[in-house]
């Protein structure tokens, strides 16, 4: 009974859209909004669509790089550093990392576009200028590193908060005991702290994988899938472009929905996989002893 409101929310905002997306994916719906059933045509087309294959590879590159380098990697490094330095400095540093997340996405993207533009006065090229190097058109020459940086700077803060909270909840006795035993800071991190934040690490990895899979907002704003032939187009962006954003206003809700359905299925499969591999069930069970 108490769970009814949350079930209702899940039903209306998750299950119903998934069901509608699934149904639309079996049609060739466009702006005529006609439910012309075409069976599995959109899925067959997807398999033979060379662009879909390229976009799939892009998505793997994007999710893997952003996740390992920033959403988990940088988040962990920032947390570890900031809990091992004086509290006030650590807090200030973490607050800085929250800035990208609290900045409106269009403003944030615009700041990046200014920073990486070709002019010698743009931030990146201005730094190059100190070393006597020629200005570079970063978005054209190195689109992927920029896309990963743009997303990573936003994504890192989520893991940072979770990891910092977990690190701070480690009883101080453990750290003191390790120090008494002569452990260095690195050894404390390796043998005490990291094993104790295993669950948050796995949770953030699982959660952020799923989150990155469906994210496209910053890529849309910064490269819009370019600069070349679907260079930075990821799966969710491809689906969006087909379904909503064509120059002539011609849309493919059916094919776009089929692409989105694949994301839903992929998300479910990965969720189950993470659940099993990371044994997340153990995270949820009642503790055997009361601490």
């Amino acid at each position: 009974m108490f769970l009814a409101p949350s079930f209702a929310l899940i039903a209306v905002f998750y299950l119903l859209p998934v069901l509608l997306t699934l149904l639309i994916s079996f049609t060739d719906m466009d702006y005529s909004f006609q439910w012309n059933w075409v069976g599995l045509k959109n899925y067959v087309q997807m398999v033979s669509d060379p662009i879909a294959a390229k976009v799939f590879n892009n998505t793997l590159l994007y999710v893997f790089s952003t996740l390992t380098l920033f959403n988990v990697g940088a988040a962990l490094v920032i947390s570890l550093i900031t809990v091992h330095i004086p509290e006030r400095v650590g807090q200030g540093y973490r607050a800085l990392w929250l800035l990208p997340r609290i900045t409106p996405s269009t403003v944030y993207a615009l700041l990046w576009l200014w920073a990486v533009r070709q002019d010698p006065t743009a931030l990146f090229n201005w730094i190059l200028g100190f070393f006597g190097m020629q200005p570079v058109n970063w978005l054209h020459k190195h689109p992927w590193p920029i896309v990963i940086l743009v997303n990573g700077f936003v994504g890192a803060s989520f893991g940072m908060i979770i990891f910092t909270a977990a690190l701070k909840s480690i009883p101080a006795d453990y750290i003191r005991a390790a120090r008494v035993d002569g452990a260095s800071t690195l050894q404390i991190i390796r043998y005490v702290e990291l094993p104790l934040i295993k669950w948050p690490l796995m949770f953030v990895t699982a959660y952020q994988t799923l989150s990155l899979l469906t994210s496209y907002e910053y890529i849309l704003l910064v490269t819009n899938g370019g600069p070349g032939y679907y260079t930075t187009e990821v799966w969710a962006l491809y689906s969006y472009h087909l379904a909503f954003a064509q120059y002539g206003g011609v849309v493919k809700f059916g094919y776009g929905a089929a692409l989105a359905t694949v994301l839903v299925i992929l998300g479910l499969v990965l969720s189950i996989l993470y659940w099993r591999v990371f044994r997340l069930k153990e995270l949820m069970i009642e503790p055997k002893i009361e601490v």
């Binding site: 006609q34 600069p227 070349g228 032939y229 064509q246 206003g249 011609v250």
Partner: protein
Amino acid sequence: MRRRGASKPVTILAALIVGILIGAVLGYALSPKAPVATTVTAPSGDLEKLRAENKQLKAKVEELTKKLASAGEGEITIKVWTIGPDPPSEYRLKNFQIAADMLNKWLAALGSKVRVKIDGQFFVRPVEWGEYKNKFYLAYKSGKAPDIYLTGHEDVGFLAANGYIIPLDDYIKEYWDVVYYDVIPTLWEAVKYQGKIWAVPQDTEARPMYFRKDILKKLGWSDEEIAQLPEKVKRGEFTLQDLLEVAKEAVDKGLVERGILHRVKEGYDYFQFYLAYGGRLWDAQSGKMVFTKSAWRKTLQWFHDAVWKYKVISPTQFSGDWDKDFHGPFTQGKALFLSGGTWHKGEWVSKGLLTNEEFNENVGYMLHPAGEPGKKPVTLSHPLIYTITKQAQERGVADVAFLLITLVTDPHLNANHAVKSSHLAILYSEISDSRYKKEPFLADVAYMLDYTTFIPNHPKWGDYSRIVFNVLRGVESGDLTPDQAFNELLNGIKGLGSDAVIIED
């Protein structure tokens, strides 16, 4: 004391009257004489025609007013959606406000208590065509569609087939002698679908290849050679290959930073290069789009060479910015050629990037040159149209909406738009409008319509265009070789189905 006090205001008043009198005398003596009134007579034929049209229009208004009178007092709101996206095209909406004012005055004069109000939207960048059309369809589905919807002519088939708009044949027949007889006939072809007329043309344009005269002079061209360039292009003696050579020379000599500029976002302009190589877009007999393999191969090779061999187009042009990578470099004389549209001239002048004098002195315009000797130079037109939605009919305001469209399809009102935004006339009588005639640019480019092609009115045209844009972006960025690009393009087009596109060698 009292008498002295009472005499003061009288003295002041007397002085004032004397002052006014002196002022009036001086004013009369010194002011320039008014010119002797001259009677300007319009040619009697034109005058009679105008009178007849006016009479007919008034009769229509009167008839409509009687209909409206039954609705009693009140205000009829007509929702109008228009787009630039270039800001100078604002008269696409403003003309409706002018027309509504005019109509309300007539209604008042005829004793009606009904008034017409325009609830208008004029969308400009950053809203582009795709977003504008999205808004329309979603508004329609939520029952909030505009009554009058401006769009590109290529949408007529889709809008008509799916019941978004109503046919206008009966209205046009009714108002034919008022104004529609005067519409340039080819434009009617752009608004027909399955034998019916579904819209009224709003404007048209040509897409010239602009060039900087001052740069050509610095390259050693004589004034005569420069003046002759559009003619040479017209005769097919100056080809796209020559364009590359001249642009390269200007870049190599350091006269410009960029040789050739093209639009920075998706659009239809790129198809001109394909047409210049002899490509066909439309097969009127079968009603299908056409993919001419040989022309596409040459087009892709040309874009590749322009970027990577001649280095006259920037590899980042497609990810550029309208101001920094298109308008700016050309108007500042940092680029030699610009593949643009007639409306860009209006944009440059209204944005203050060029004055009319600077434009006339330094900028020339020609057709897009033929791809190779023996082929024809080209341009492309994309007439915009006013449609009336089914929801307007359901609300019972289609009659008023059409009357307003008829009022804005007026040579003088449409000339407001044409002159301000550098679009071309849709009416024969508009060409002789005094403001239109004062704009030599519009007269100069009129011949280009003899070389124009319309965008196909096909539901899958947007797909064709998107595939081409993505492939060209791949070629310019260096992601695709011309061969790879051709294969991607061909595969993409084949995916549209043989019922949509004819693939020919």
